[in-house]
């Protein structure tokens, strides 16, 4: 019997998924946070009209897809790598004949599966409670596809880079969640339209990928008239693509320069 890197990657992916779905509390927190926020905030914004005929709650629902991707790809991936470092997973994997890429492929599969599940969940809530329209124009789904892929990639790379910051799993939750919460706020995930935020906060949000992901998803699910609620008054697809791609590249560089197989106390 020979050991194939493809087989090992598949085996790693299996372990990642099983561990994630079996750890109920963390799984529920990861999936439910965006949905709970969408439901609660949506009940407020449902009564407000963003632009002719479009309630603010639909802006919120579309933007919350970006929040969900951040939750599964950034927060969850970062904490899972911190935990792998602390519980001995990484040390054990370095001690077995495994190509390192198999570990990362396992994480990529975990991130993709959880992100897709989260998107379906947010869309289901958005469509059911806030009448978010699901487009039938394939060009809109194409936009969805590239925003999703660039967003997932960028968030996951930043999550992997972020995993080097906390010293322990206990510290990881606040260290990862607090900045993410602030980022969601300034990226107009909780407050819609984003132009309701003070200018300086909008500008801070515009430096990070989350705001652009949310804008991209709004362009997929809302009528073009809603583009008037964006700061630029248009969907700015070109700029979204550039900012997200730059963050993917930056995240990759951060990852390659900061990723540690060992915890600080071992090193």
């Amino acid at each position: 019997m020979t050991v194939s890197p493809v087989g090992l990657s598949a085996a790693r992916a299996g372990v990642e998924l099983r561990q994630f779905f079996r750890e109920r509390t963390a799984m529920i927190f990861t999936f439910a946070l965006p949905v709970v926020l969408l439901t609660l905030l949506g009940s407020i914004f449902d009564k407000q009209v963003a632009v002719a005929g479009i309630p603010s709650s639909q802006l919120l629902a579309a933007g919350m897809i970006a929040g969900g991707i951040g939750s599964t790809c950034f927060v969850n991936l970062a904490t899972s790598i911190v935990s792998d470092r602390e519980d001995g997973t990484l040390k054990r994997l370095r001690g077995v004949p495994m190509p390192p890429i198999a570990y990362f492929i396992g994480k990529i599969v975990l991130v993709l599966v959880t992100a897709v599940a989260e998107v379906i969940l947010v869309l289901a809530v958005g469509a059911t409670f806030f009448d978010l329209p699901l487009p039938d124009d394939p060009r809109r789904w194409l936009t969805f596809g590239w925003v999703f892929l660039l967003g997932v990639t960028g968030c996951a790379l930043l999550g992997a880079a972020m995993s080097s910051v906390p010293r322990s799993v206990r510290g990881a939750a606040p260290i990862v969640n607090l900045p993410f919460l602030v980022l969601q706020f300034v990226s107009g995930i909780f407050i819609v339209p984003i132009t309701n935020l003070p200018e300086p906060l909008q500008q801070i949000g515009a430096l990070f990928p989350l705001k652009w992901m949310a804008q991209g998803f709004r362009s997929v699910f809302l009528p073009d008239a809603a583009a008037a609620t964006e700061p630029a008054g248009t969907w700015e697809h070109g700029r979204i693509a550039v900012v997200l791609a730059v963050w993917c590249l930056g995240g990759l560089i951060l990852c390659l320069t900061t990723f540690r197989w060992q915890g600080r106390k071992d090193g």
Partner: protein, 281 residues
């Protein structure tokens, strides 16, 4: 026969201070070799260099014929590790865990056989997080031996075990050594563990090897002066001598065939060990 491990002049420096300062080691194929030393002696550093986890600053190292720092991934097919304090795979079952790690090796042992070997057959379907500390460590041993390693590293394997679990673990270690001729490098600070298991032992202290030998003759304890004690005229008496047999026979002449309260003791492994590490401080 080649040595499983050969180390010459190994050095590792942390923050300008040598943690390992010229260590020589030879571990023969099939041997259970114990590395003994107080905390901070350089044990973990030495072992992690042999395991390929750390780079050295000087000296030569050969493990299974290769330099761990430059060995290809396939070198790890012959190495088994039993980590200290691992708590990974907590939400997987015992069987899933062992089956997973079997996939990394070209010729793994049968999963059921390994689970049986470590005595976890009844717990095979249980999640690893529900196991006791001793059972969890047996899972680590199962992962360590699944790939049929030629060399197994056991790093303080019985820390936190109750006495019964330690005995069972020792029996398991002897089985591995006897059945498959697996070479075992054991680090521990339990002296009874060394006496129970090790063919040979080295004492490491202050980054250097202070003595190497069998547990019986380490540091010359087999020829060291013995203490003979007995009871005479209702009083406990004792004397220290290089020739205890002579003393006993002289006592027998004086006190008759049965010497009351006779006890002949040599320095225990613990005495010898404390002596050896004391000499470096």
């Amino acid at each position: 026969m080649t040595d499983a491990v050969r180390v010459r002049g190994l050095r590792k420096i942390y923050h300008g201070r040598p943690a390992v300062d010229g260590v020589d080691l030879d571990i023969a194929d099939g041997e259970i070799f114990a590395l003994l030393g107080p905390n901070g002696a350089g044990k973990t550093t030495t072992v992690e260099i042999l395991e390929g986890f750390r780079k050295r600053d000087g000296g030569e190292v050969s493990v299974l014929g290769a330099d761990p720092q430059r060995a290809p991934r396939s070198w790890r097919y012959g190495i088994g590790l039993v980590l200290q304090n691992a708590s990974d795979m907590a939400d997987m079952t015992v069987a899933e865990t062992v089956r997973h790690f079997a996939r990394y090796y070209p010729d793994p042992r049968p999963v059921d056989e390994v689970i049986d070997l470590v005595g976890l057959t009844e717990k095979a379907g249980r999640k690893v997080r529900t196991l006791s500390g001793g059972q969890r460590r047996r899972v680590d041993v199962a992962i360590g031996v699944i790939g049929r390693p030629r060399l197994l590293f056991l790093d303080e394997p019985t820390t936190g075990f109750d006495p019964e679990a330690r005995r069972q673990f020792w029996a398991l270690t002897r089985t591995l050594s006897a059945q498959d001729g697996t070479t075992i490098l054991l680090t521990t600070h339990y002296l009874d563990e060394v006496e129970a298991l090790a063919h040979r032992v080295a004492v490491l202290s202050g980054g250097r090897i202070r003595a190497t030998g069998t547990p019986r003759d380490l540091g010359g304890r087999d020829t060291a002066e013995a203490t003979v004690s007995w009871i005479e005229d209702g009083e406990h008496r004792s004397t220290t001598t290089a020739k205890p047999t002579g003393v006993v026979s002289e006592l027998a002449d004086r006190l008759g065939d049965e010497i009351p309260g006779l006890l002949v003791t040599r320095p225990s492994l613990e005495d010898t060990y404390l002596d050896l590490i004391g000499s470096s401080r």
